[in-house]
Symmetry: C2
C-alpha cells in the first residue's frame, strides 16, 4: 500500500473522530478547503509540512497520520495493495 493512501484514510478517520468538518480542519491548519477534500480522496502526494500541520491540529503525532493499517490475517494476500 502506498503511503499516500494510508495517509488519506487516516486523515479522514481522525478528522471524523474529532467531529471536525473538512472546512474547520482546513481553516485551523491554514490549508485550502478543497485541498483537504482532495487529500482524503488520495488525489495528491502532500509535503511533510502539510502533514505536520494537520497532525498538530488533530492532536496526534505525525506517525499516526502516516501509519499503514495492520495487515489483517483473515484476508488473502491478493486483496492487499503492494
Amino acid at each position: 500500500m502506498e503511503i499516500r493512501e494510508a495517509f488519506a484514510q487516516n486523515l479522514r478517520a481522525l478528522r471524523r473522530a474529532r467531529g471536525l468538518s473538512q472546512e474547520e480542519l482546513a481553516h485551523q491548519a491554514g490549508i485550502d478547503r478543497t485541498y483537504i477534500s482532495a487529500l482524503e480522496r488520495n488525489v495528491y502526494n502532500p509535503s511533510i509540512d502539510v502533514v505536520d500541520r494537520l497532525a498538530e491540529v488533530l492532536g496526534v503525532d505525525v506517525a499516526e497520520l502516516l501509519k499503514r493499517p495492520a495487515a489483517d490475517p483473515q484476508r488473502s494476500k491478493s486483496e492487499l495493495d503492494e
Copy 2:
C-alpha cells in the same frame, strides 16, 4: 523546530549510521544524488512519497525519519527553534 529540519538531520544521521554515501543512498532509493544532498541541507520540503522511499532503503519506519529530537532540558529555551 520545523519538521523539514528534523527530517534533514535524521536523514543525514541515519545514512551515516548505515555507512552509506549520498551517492549510494541515492542509487538505492532511485533518487538523484544532488537531490539527497539538498534534502540533507534542508533545501526542500519533501513529499511523503520521497520520505517513504528513503525510509525503506534505510530500513526504518517513516516515523524515525520525521521524529523531532527530544528537547534537552540542559539547554535554555532560547536556543530552540519554535
